[in-house]
Symmetry: C2
Subunit: 322 residues, 2 copies
């Protein structure tokens, strides 16, 4: 069992690599190797008993994809993407990575002839527009960002390539991930992690929306667990649409801050400032959060039980010893 | 007002060109030129008072697209496609024409900097899969053919390019067009026209499904009227999703044959044979027909009033003097 994680240098890619290495098996088989591929050489996995390779890969370039989607790959995670604010600023970058890059990976996976399992990360940014909430497994996609449009295109490709028997694909629309460790990326949702991550480390952070802003969240730990479950699902369980929402939970900023206070005391919340960020509303207004992940839940994927859990997971996983 | 019809050599493209030439104006402006572009040099429009050019264009090739999407174009019709059975046989042809070709046209339209009106023909083949009927303006797309998947991708691109203000796009999911004149193409729906077209000209035809097979139809005449109305709609009327079903009507094969008999006597129906076609069910089973085109109807687009009308339109438009 060889696993390729494209986007293996990112927050979820790194955590997924570590979780798979610690687990040692997937789909009932011993993991013989993990390859982390990303646009810059990914960090290795310290102390892994499973051999881990890293490779530099630009999915927009078919020749580069050929170097990592090799004949020995059994399971491919396709996590690489140009994120929301970046894809909105630069349409061509988004088309090149999110649309053509996805097609390049699918075409190389198809060319293997082995029908590899491919786990695609879509996003709740596919939801929006004039489609009424709630968003179920059957509601239309009318994304109001280019990122969302490109992810929706990726979903159609994953489902069609799977229907044709060229790959065994499955795609999950990730909720907004919070608390995201590490440095901020260019996602418009960045503040939804930084207002916890930074104060929990004694640093200030700004919240650019009001405390009653609510949204659909998942912790990195549960996201990784769901991505592993997602790879293990048998093709027969997936039905005719290979892509679906991943379970998450809706919280207001206030509920999340209260959860931080319940777990870590009242100090961190005092490090949050509240200055509105011009232009951010334009992106966030197109987002939606009344999402019903019925299909994924029926397949065993799970949301967090509470945001207190998210805070604890962050402290345990990302600030050990703090 | 210069109009470019990509796919101008096809049945709808030719009829649209003739209708626009006869009309002489669009969006309140005199039509100064019509360009018919297609993969093979399209037929000209006999007796047109409007200057008509033809150009050979392969939308899969950006350089070829540049030759027809020129600075003087105000309205672009993008009708060109690899049709259902062909796209199912040859995935790469479908991706190249239906997905990349659409992107090429959008990118060139964007590059004009004039935000041209672009009318995209999608298809009811976007519907299907595990999404329950009826299909409204808000239901999800889970196409069960590569053609449907590629058209759904085109819709997402048209809406996103329009949202960004790069084009003024609008897309319509065409019902199955019946009665389609001329020669059969590679569409799986071919028989839905040939069982009327051929008998009405004294020739035999085969119906490969049972007489209670029902489906969602529109006459070529109404389709062209809707495509003209579609171009005339102001951007503000279109909302956040630029793509929608085009109105059609559901008929069984039996109802359609009865309509032919009502208009043309009992002779033609006797020229129909009833032999099942192996493999056709696999495609048709993925199609759906309970479609509610509420948005398009509210914008003034129309279905046929009866299938007797479809028969009469065919006799008037395609067999004049017969």
């Amino acid at each position: 069992m060889n696993i390729l994680i494209i986007g293996g240098g990112g927050v979820i890619g790194q955590k997924l690599g570590r979780a798979l290495a610690a687990r040692g098996e997937l789909r009932g088989k011993v993991i013989s190797g993990i390859t982390l591929a990303d646009i810059v050489d990914p960090a290795r996995i310290p102390g892994s008993a499973v051999p881990v390779k890293t490779v530099v890969c630009n999915i927009a370039d078919p020749a580069s994809v050929a170097k990592c989607v090799t004949a020995d790959v059994d399971v491919i995670y396709l996590l690489a993407a140009v994120v929301s604010a970046h894809a909105e600023e630069d349409l061509d970058a988004g088309l090149s990575i999110n649309m053509m890059g996805t097609l390049n990976v699918l075409q190389h996976a198809r060319a293997l002839g082995t029908r590899p399992v491919l786990v695609f990360t879509s996003s709740i940014a596919v939801n929006g527009g004039e489609v009424p909430q709630p968003f179920t497994d059957y509601t239309g996609l009318n994304p109001q960002t280019s990122y969302g449009a490109q992810k929706a295109i990726g979903e159609l490709l994953v489902t069609d390539f799977s229907r044709r028997g060229l790959i065994d694909g499955r795609g999950f629309r990730l909720p907004t991930i919070s608390i995201r460790p590490g440095k901020p990326n260019r996602a418009a949702s960045g503040f939804m992690s930084s207002i916890f991550r930074e104060p929990l480390q004694g640093r200030t952070a700004n919240c650019p929306v009001s405390s009653d802003f609510n949204h659909y969240y998942l912790s990195p730990r549960k996201c990784v667990e769901n991505l592993i479950k997602g790879a293990e699902l048998p093709a027969e369980a997936l039905g005719l649409n290979r892509c679906m929402p991943m379970p998450g939970r809706v919280w207001t900023i206030r509920q999340m801050i209260d959860a931080m206070t319940a777990v870590a005391g009242s100090g961190p919340a005092r490090l949050i400032s509240w200055e509105k960020q011009p232009g951010l509303d334009l992106i966030l207004d197109g987002w939606r959060m009344d999402i019903r992940a019925d299909k994924a839940e029926s397949l065993g994927l799970e949301a967090d039980a509470s945001f207190e859990d998210n805070i604890r997971y962050f402290l345990e996983d990302d600030l050990p010893g703090a």
